[in-house]
């Protein structure tokens, strides 16, 4: 086995704070077909960009044929290594032939004079990738899979020893995915090309590549044959998700099966069914509204004056609001609308709002419900908030004495209690 590429203690970060590659050591032998796999943000694409000299490592060295890759002149490097980048869109109308011919750039003179050898190599690359029929077509008139093959043809026209590909099938349908990987396997076996592909597709990599490198958080988590790397334990740890690994009996390679989760997040979504009617005003309901909203409860708001800061927030959060004109008093018709909301609600919450003659009816109305669950928040005593000469305090006491009322002196405690009720059926 002859070593093609050696990565020695590679470190890389975009800025000083976030290390993307945290020491990677790796050797790739000639004629290997290797896939670098790993979750999003694990550093696999960044690793490829270091190997292709697009980025210069912070420390460590990459050797290509025992030479420091960063010191190889760009043209010389392009003669040995070609790269199929992730984004291959080209917004100018070049023909397929022109584009593949650009692969000959590292061998051509200043103005791209075409020699016989260039023509031969381009024809060969077109034939290998089965793109001859598109020769004079514009690249943009081709389908995604066809376009990807043209870009691979361009890479082959560079006559490389090693071919790097960054997510070559990420946006393709499965028929094209197969087509591309079949082509790569053919190039690897018949043309002795060393291939290194970055992919997030575990199963494609497993079926085609002889070696997998699993990267996690800028380090190699596991490396070796697909059977060695793709274990339930490895994937469980790196991707933090439960999978089953089976064997493809036709190829003998492992394949990963996703297990539909028991999904802990689903009940939160169902909490939309838990209805809270909030009586507040003057900004005392803001924190509660925010909390209820984030916990996905269904919120309606008790009689509020338009323009009140609680009213503003409730409106922004899309809550149902029973509202009246600014500074006006609560009328019988408003109470009727409010009653409907209270009856629908699973729970009524009263914030520590100050009471005046304008909104006293809110409190009065609540005393009329005998078996409704009511939570009163009372971090500040009612006496401090009573501007009705004792009437509000009296009603408040009346409410406290109801069997279905609970009083909380601590906001957090109340929120926890609500959360408990919301999640129990």
């Amino acid at each position: 086995m002859i070593e093609m590429l050696e990565i020695d203690k590679l470190k890389f970060s975009y800025d000083d704070k976030n290390t993307i590659i945290d020491e990677i050591n790796l050797a790739i032998n000639q004629q290997e077909f290797t896939a670098i796999i790993g979750p999003n943000g694990s550093g696999k694409s960044t690793l490829l960009k270091n190997i292709s000299n697009l980025f210069t490592p912070d420390s460590g060295v990459i050797y290509l044929d025992s030479k420091n890759l960063n010191q190889i002149p760009p043209r010389k490097l392009a003669q040995k290594m070609s790269v199929v980048p992730q984004d291959t869109s080209i917004s100018f109308n070049f023909t397929v032939y022109d584009i593949v011919m650009m692969g000959r750039h590292p061998y051509q003179g200043r103005w791209g004079q075409v020699q016989d050898q260039d023509r031969e190599k381009v024809e060969e690359a077109l034939a290998l990738t089965d793109t001859r029929q598109f020769r004079d077509r514009d690249l943009n008139s081709l389908s995604g899979g066809e376009r990807q093959r043209v870009i691979i043809a361009r890479a082959l026209a560079q006559d490389p020893e090693i071919l790097l590909l960054d997510e070559p099938t990420s946006s393709l349908d499965i028929n094209y995915q197969r087509e591309i990987f079949d082509l790569l396997a053919y190039l690897n076996q018949e043309k002795n090309l060393t291939i290194l592909v970055v992919s997030h597709d575990l199963n494609l990599s497993s079926q085609y590549c002889s070696r997998l490198i699993l990267i996690n958080r800028g380090r190699i988590f596991a490396g070796g044959s697909p059977a060695e790397v793709l274990t339930e334990e490895n994937i469980g740890q790196v991707y933090q998700t439960e999978v089953k690994v089976r064997q493809n009996y036709l190829t003998g390679r492992p394949y990963v099966v996703l297990m539909p989760g028991r999904a802990e997040c689903v009940p939160t979504r169902l909490q939309q069914d838990f209805k809270i009617h909030l009586i507040s005003g003057g900004g005392t309901g803001q924190e509660l509204l925010q909390e209820f909203y984030e916990r996905n409860y269904h919120i309606s708001c008790g009689v509020l004056n338009q323009g009140d800061s609680d009213w503003e927030l409730a409106r922004r959060l899309g809550c149902e609001i029973v509202d009246i004109a600014p500074f006006s008093y609560i009328e019988e018709s408003d109470l009727k609308r409010n009653r409907e909301k209270i009856e629908e609600a699973d729970l009524v919450v009263v914030s520590e709002l100050p009471f005046g003659h304008g909104n006293l009816k809110n409190l009065e109305q609540l005393t009329g419900f005998s078996d409704k669950k009511i939570f009163l928040l009372q971090e500040r005593s009612i006496a401090e908030r009573d501007y009705t000469g004792g009437q509000a305090e009296k009603l408040w006491q009346q409410l406290i004495e109801r069997p279905e009322t609970r009083v909380f002196n601590d906001r957090q405690e109340m929120l926890e209690e609500i959360a408990g009720r919301a999640s129990s059926p």
């Binding site: 292709s52 000299n53 697009l54 760009p74 043209r75 010389k76 490097l77 392009a78 003669q79 290594m81 070609s82 790269v83 980048p85 984004d87 291959t88 869109s89 080209i90 917004s91 100018f92 109308n93 070049f94 022109d98 584009i99 650009m102 692969g103 750039h105 590292p106 200043r110 103005w111 791209g112 514009d138 690249l139 943009n140 008139s141 361009r154 890479a155 560079q158």
Partner: protein
């Protein structure tokens, strides 16, 4: 074979256009001179011809040559900027060149800084220096480490142009008595041009042309995307910088003598690309010639439409180029250029 045939037609057609528009531009003007007289006057200044010889040789010929130079320069710079930035909506002024030149010229006119140095008016000098300083500023604003990300470059250019235009407007408000001269310059005009103008800008123009010619093929690779170009063995940052420098120099030289003539740098590259495709080795020469012809004809119209009044040629190019550009846009079917 069909492709070769197409190139031949384009080349012959362009050649014919150059000759015809050259003759038309010599013939028409504030007074029309018959073709026969024009040709005679080119070769002899005897007797009756003396008067025409002066008009033809000293006034029209330098002006035609300059209009060709300016038009081709703007078109070339347009092609280069569109290529480097990989966006066909870009024109040579995008990086603040015209704003910089305009502001400098406004200062010079309003504060009477213009005087004659040897034979030259200093106005073009101010325009040139203003343009170069602005691009240098934009370039440094856009720089991240040793790289010039294309989007940042573009945005820095647009922002700088806005600020400079504000400064210019402010200076114009202060110097109302000179408003007409400033406005005339801003509209772009070739009136009063002489051979001296040409010799003045030619060195910069040619210097700017060098990298454009030298890296014409590399510009094709850049169209593949900067990453791809890198993988194909191109030192992208170096080539990009030199191309921007070249196109800037050409534009600055041109702006110095013509003011900011709009639309050529945007429209002509499109027309050329439509005719011959995106390969810069063919596109650049064709765009240069078409740009030259376009401005030559526009300037002819500017001189002869309302004699003795001369219309600023920028108005003509925009009025002719604008509708044609919109026509192209409406006709376009695919997403690519």
């Amino acid at each position: 074979m069909q492709i070769k045939y197409k190139y031949l037609i384009v080349i012959l057609g362009t050649l014919a256009a150059v000759i015809v528009s050259f003759i038309l531009a010599l013939v028409h003007g504030s007074t029309d001179i018959p073709v026969r007289t024009v040709i005679q006057a080119l070769f002899s200044a005897e007797g009756d011809l003396a008067r025409y010889a002066i008009i033809i040789r000293r006034i029209r010929l330098p002006r035609i040559a300059l209009s060709f130079l300016v038009g081709s320069g703007l078109a070339l710079a347009g092609v280069v900027f569109q290529g480097v930035i990989r966006n066909p909506m870009v024109d040579p002024y995008i990086v603040g060149i015209s704003a910089g030149a305009g502001t400098a010229v406004t200062f010079a006119i309003v504060y009477n800084l213009s005087f004659s140095l040897f034979y030259f008016s200093t106005i073009p000098l101010f325009a040139f220096v203003g343009a170069l300083l602005t691009v240098m500023l934009v370039y440094n604003l856009a720089r991240v480490g040793s790289k010039i990300p294309v989007m940042t470059f573009l945005l820095a250019g647009v922002a700088t142009a806005f600020m400079l235009d504000a400064v210019r407007s402010f200076v114009m408000v202060l110097g109302t008595q000179d408003l007409q001269r400033v406005v005339f310059w801003l509209m772009g005009s070739l009136s009063g041009s002489s051979w001296a103008d040409i010799t003045m800008i030619l060195p910069y123009y040619l210097l700017g042309l060098l990298p454009i010619i030298f890296f014409a093929n590399d510009l094709n690779l850049i169209l593949m995307g900067e990453e791809s170009a890198h993988h194909l063995g191109l030192n992208v940052e170096k080539v990009k910088k030199l191309l921007i420098a070249g196109a800037t120099l050409v534009t600055a030289a041109v702006v110095a003598v013509s003011g900011s003539i709009g639309f050529i740098g945007l429209v002509v590259p499109h027309i050329a690309r439509l005719l011959i495709g995106p390969d810069h080795r063919k596109l650049l020469p064709l765009a240069a010639v078409l740009g030259g012809v376009f401005l030559m004809l526009s300037d002819m119209l500017a001189r002869s439409l309302l004699p003795p009044l001369e219309i600023p040629v920028g108005i003509i190019t925009a009025l002719v180029g604008g509708p044609y550009f919109i026509y192209l846009l409406r006709r376009r079917k695919s997403e690519s250029w």
